[in-house]
């Protein structure tokens, strides 16, 4: 079916099978920051932003996407705040295998759009839908707090 939506600020028109999900589509067009993990809405690796809020791409049918506004890390890499977040994650060693990192960055971005000074509980809640099996969440929390406190050397 024919659909039209916004991906990272650009209009996308595509003919897709109605039953295709957004994760499959994004990877088919080389948007590789969005990772395939569990494929059933549990791990959070395929997190994207839809209207500023985090969503699991694997749970979104392409056929329901008309007119929606989707963002991935590819569209935010040049953004100043994203640069600072990435610098903080690197400085703090908040990345090990890196598989969940794009999702964590988007979760933090979504949180900061709604609340520029989130407390620890809010950051924790923002990360709660993302499985990270390397870091134990400690270093991502430290990195996120550095961003919130404006303590990143970028």
């Amino acid at each position: 079916m024919h659909i039209k939506f916004y991906l990272n600020g650009k209009v996308v028109e595509a003919d897709v099978p109605a039953g295709m999900n957004l994760l499959e589509y994004l990877r088919s067009v080389s948007v590789f920051s969005v990772k395939r993990g569990c494929d059933h809405g549990e791990c959070g690796s395929c997190t994207v932003l839809m209207d500023d809020k985090t969503r699991n791409a694997c749970l979104i049918l392409m056929g329901t996407l008309d007119g929606e506004r989707i963002e991935t890390l590819e569209g935010l890499n040049a953004d100043r705040r994203m640069e600072l977040m990435q610098a903080a994650f690197l400085d703090e060693g908040a990345i090990q295998c890196g598989y969940c990192t794009p999702a964590m960055l988007l979760a933090l971005e979504s949180l900061l759009r709604a609340n520029s000074k989130p407390d620890d509980a809010a950051i924790k809640a923002a990360f709660s839908g993302i499985y990270c099996r390397c870091t134990g969440y400690v270093k991502p929390m430290v990195a996120a707090k550095k961003v919130v406190m404006g303590e990143v050397d970028g």
Binding site: H40, K53, R55, L59, L61, T64, A125, S128, G129
Partner: protein, 280 residues
């Protein structure tokens, strides 16, 4: 598969009445439907995406309580001052519901229609004696939630019907929700319960408890609460009475025996914390 996206409630009800029921599925948030679709367990000919139905959105305070549109997301409930203030057990269930990505998309009517014995909002909704407003092209009816959910994944939803809203009566006393999961976020309940009570001069005057993930549907622990209100203080008796109202099973998350034991312990502990006299 053909996807329909009605923008008006009337159009949606027309579709529901015209399309063949066995091959038609309603899509709300999709957080339960999509995994089943990807596994090939649900392969509808016709999929009706109802997310654009504005009539089914939002939380309204009414004269007798509150009315929640079926498409209201779990995250919207979690952010609602009205739910936090008047229906704390429901609010607490939204706090512990999956993770942010799922809460942003999952809807209250979807959690009900999915009819999972472990659905987190269900124990609070049973506790509050929620009713559902069901609409079809020809009729609107109101039904008690416990009459709507018939078993795991089974409901008494009739052909052409859509869950329009969830109606909550005004609640007296205090209430809360407790969930035991295997981790804090993204966990399905091993057991959960919701509890409502009133006290006067340190004595319980009213007590109701519902429990989830311990039977094919949510259950009221009436044998226990009746006995406690009549002055029964023996916790061994309490646990036996809880056992009368539940029928847990072994599954991937826990054994039936563990569920029985842990629910008994949790509720005994909870009642003791409320100051109920308890003898081992």
């Amino acid at each position: 598969m053909k996807i329909y996206q009605p923008y008006g409630l009337g159009d949606c009800l027309d579709l529901l009445s015209e399309l063949p029921q066995a091959e038609t599925v309603i899509l709300a948030g999709g957080t339960d439907l999509m995994p089943r679709y990807e596994q090939g367990k649900v392969l509808p000919e016709h999929l009706i995406n109802i997310k654009h139905l504005a009539d089914l959105q939002g939380i309204t305070e009414t004269e007798n309580g509150a009315e929640i549109g079926g498409l209201t997301t779990i995250e919207t409930l979690r952010r609602s001052g009205l739910i936090h203030r008047d229906y704390p057990a429901l609010w607490q269930s939204t706090e512990q519901f999956a993770g942010v990505q799922i809460r942003n998309r999952a809807t209250l009517a979807g959690n009900i229609a999915n009819a999972s014995p472990a659905g987190d909002t269900l124990s609070p909704l049973y506790l509050y004696h929620a009713k559902l407003k069901l609409m079809s092209r020809h009729a609107t009816r109101t039904i008690r939630l416990e009459d709507f959910i018939a078993g795991p994944g089974e409901t008494t939803q009739e052909r052409g019907e859509l869950i329009h809203s969830i109606i909550l009566p005004r609640v007296t006393g205090s209430s809360c929700f407790y969930k035991l999961g295997l981790r804090e976020a993204m966990a399905i309940s091993v057991v959960n319960y919701a509890l409502r009570y009133s006290q006067s001069a340190g004595e319980l005057t009213d007590l109701e408890i519902t429990a989830g993930a311990v039977a094919p549907t949510i259950v009221f622990l009436d044998a226990l609460t009746t006995a406690v209100l009549s002055g029964e203080t023996n916790s061994t008796v309490w646990r036996a009475l809880i056992g009368q109202d539940i029928a847990p099973i072994d599954d991937i998350r826990a054994s039936a025996d563990y569920r029985r034991k842990v629910l008994g312990r949790l509720i005994t502990h909870h009642l003791q914390n409320l100051g109920v006299v308890c003898h081992e």
